[in-house]
């Protein structure tokens, strides 16, 4: 990493200006669309600046985990597609893709977004499995937040499948929604020098000192967090970052509701 460039970004941030002219707490223009994939039970695409993420939901029936026989199963997958950025190569998911998937997963899981009790078909034997895949088409930063928004929108957009003889009838969607009870929005705050910013681009992510992702529920309570970056955070930093995350989650939530109302 070019220290010169980092200093330069930092100097501009001190004056409140980012590389692309945005203010520190300003998101790029966000555009949310639902039902973009015919083969998915639910889907959404989120465009924010040059970043475009697509999320799709697939359902199946399977066995529950032995320690929670009455609960449906959910998982989140992600990959850094080499199609979406020149720096990515093919091969098994890299640690950054695994982190994106796990942080989105944690928010949805701990926010109790899906009422998994309602996804039980036969206790201990058959439950619904909800598989959420989040993939970048064009990766210009902020994949956790935008992937999280896409995943939640896709869940809201999804319809259950028909069941015959304990088996899923693929392609036969019912009118029934998934049991979605909350919308925990992940908001990532980046720390560069002494500055806190939101919705980073690739270039900004490359010079970050630390970051904190906070998943925020409707009532401003938090349900998941992830600290990243090589530098430590002070309690004061964390305090400010959470405040900012809550504030931004409220703004994004409005956009999300507008998109879902369409």
């Amino acid at each position: 990493m070019n220290q010169d460039l980092k200093n330069h970004i930092n100097e501009a941030l001190k004056k409140g200006i980012r590389l692309d002219g945005r203010k520190k707490e300003e998101y790029r223009k966000i555009e949310i669309r639902t039902g973009v994939v015919a083969t998915a039970e639910g889907s959404a695409s989120v465009k924010c600046g040059d970043t475009e993420v697509i999320a799709g939901i697939k359902l199946n029936i399977g066995e529950p985990y032995p320690d929670s026989p009455e609960n449906g199963v959910m998982m989140v997958g992600s990959e850094m597609l080499p199609l979406s950025n020149p720096e990515f190569e093919g091969g098994p998911p890299r640690i950054d893709a695994i982190e994106v998937a796990r942080v989105i997963d944690r928010g949805i899981r701990e926010g109790k977004t899906i009422d998994t009790k309602k996804l039980c078909l036969k206790k201990g034997e058959l439950v619904w499995m909800v598989m959420i895949d989040v993939l970048p088409i064009n990766h210009d930063g902020n994949l956790i937040d935008l992937g999280g928004i896409a995943a939640l929108t896709a869940l809201k957009n999804a319809k259950m499948l028909e069941v015959e003889n304990d088996k899923v009838v693929f392609g036969k969607r019912t009118k029934q929604d998934l049991p979605i009870t909350s919308m925990p929005l992940p908001v990532t705050i980046l720390k560069i020098g002494d500055n806190l910013i939101v919705d980073p681009t690739n270039a900004e992510e490359k010079v970050l000192d630390a970051r904190l992702t906070v998943s925020v529920l409707e009532d401003d309570t938090l349900c998941a967090m992830q600290k990243g970056g090589d530098t430590s955070l002070s309690i004061k930093d964390i305090n400010e970052m959470i405040d900012l995350a809550i504030k931004k989650s409220q703004e994004i939530r409005k956009k999300l509701q507008e998109a879902l109302a369409k």
Binding site: M1, N2, D4, L5, H8, I9, I17, L19, G21
Partner: protein, 239 residues
């Protein structure tokens, strides 16, 4: 010789496989080829009808190193006898010790004192072999290591337009924003100035990049610069 029939117009955007002319009356130039009695485009570009010659000015595509081009390279490796530079092309370049500085660099010296990894350097291409081995020099007027500022990447084919005739377009931007700007032939561009002025500079460059094939561009850029900087710019430039 049979007459040729032109099937497209001058300044049309043409795509690979598009038949540009039939008959033997026209000649294939850059970006086109002859297939029997047809001339066909083999690259996305803007068509130029130059007398009887049909050629295209490319609109996209990566930079290909050319001798005497002044480019901005990025140090990606420190070698025994010099540095390896990324040239924003498929081919990296070598900056040999003897071409790095006017002062003598002893063998075994700490090369990072001159250039470190990730440094950006304005260099001139001294040779390109048929195998695409590229050598560059940092000795000469206007060739040096860049300090501060930021790097943006622009379409290499739009560089002449961004620079303008005799540097007129880039001068216009410099005058309006007081930024230092260096546009490498390889599309790597360095901008250094006040943060808000850098943003205006980058936006103006992007505007030229995206609308380079549209007429009246200079006026548009000037209007944009005047509006955003609040300055009246009083130079008349030719396109």
């Amino acid at each position: 010789m049979t007459d040729g029939k032109l099937l497209v117009k001058d300044k049309d955007i043409v795509v690979p496989g598009e038949v540009l002319a039939s008959g033997m009356g026209y000649l294939p130039g850059h970006g086109t080829y002859r297939d029997n009695d047809k001339i066909i485009a083999n690259r996305l570009g803007l068509l130029t009808v130059d007398g009887k010659v049909l050629k295209t000015v490319p609109l996209a595509g990566r930079y290909m190193p050319k001798r005497n081009d002044v480019i901005i390279g990025k140090v990606i490796d420190i070698l025994m006898s010099g540095w390896r530079l990324d040239t924003n092309s498929p081919y990296s370049a070598v900056l040999p010790l003897k071409d790095a500085s006017f002062s003598y660099i002893a063998k075994g010296a700490d090369l990072t004192r001159y250039f470190e990894l990730d440094d950006y350097v304005v260099v001139k291409i001294t040779s390109v072999t048929s195998q695409k081995l590229v050598d560059v020099t940092c000795k000469g007027p206007g060739l040096y290591k860049l300090k501060g500022g930021r790097i943006i990447q622009v379409n290499t084919h739009k560089v002449p337009r961004i620079i303008g005739k005799k540097g007129s377009m880039v001068s216009l931007i410099k005058k309006a924003t007081d930024c230092k700007i260096i546009v490498g032939q390889n599309g790597i561009t360095w901008v250094n100035g006040e943060p808000e002025m850098e943003v205006i500079t980058v936006n103006a460059i992007k505007m030229i990049e995206e609308q380079s094939h549209i007429s009246g561009l200079t006026d548009k850029v000037q209007a944009y610069l005047e509006k955003t900087t609040g300055k009246k710019i009083e130079i008349k430039i030719e396109e």
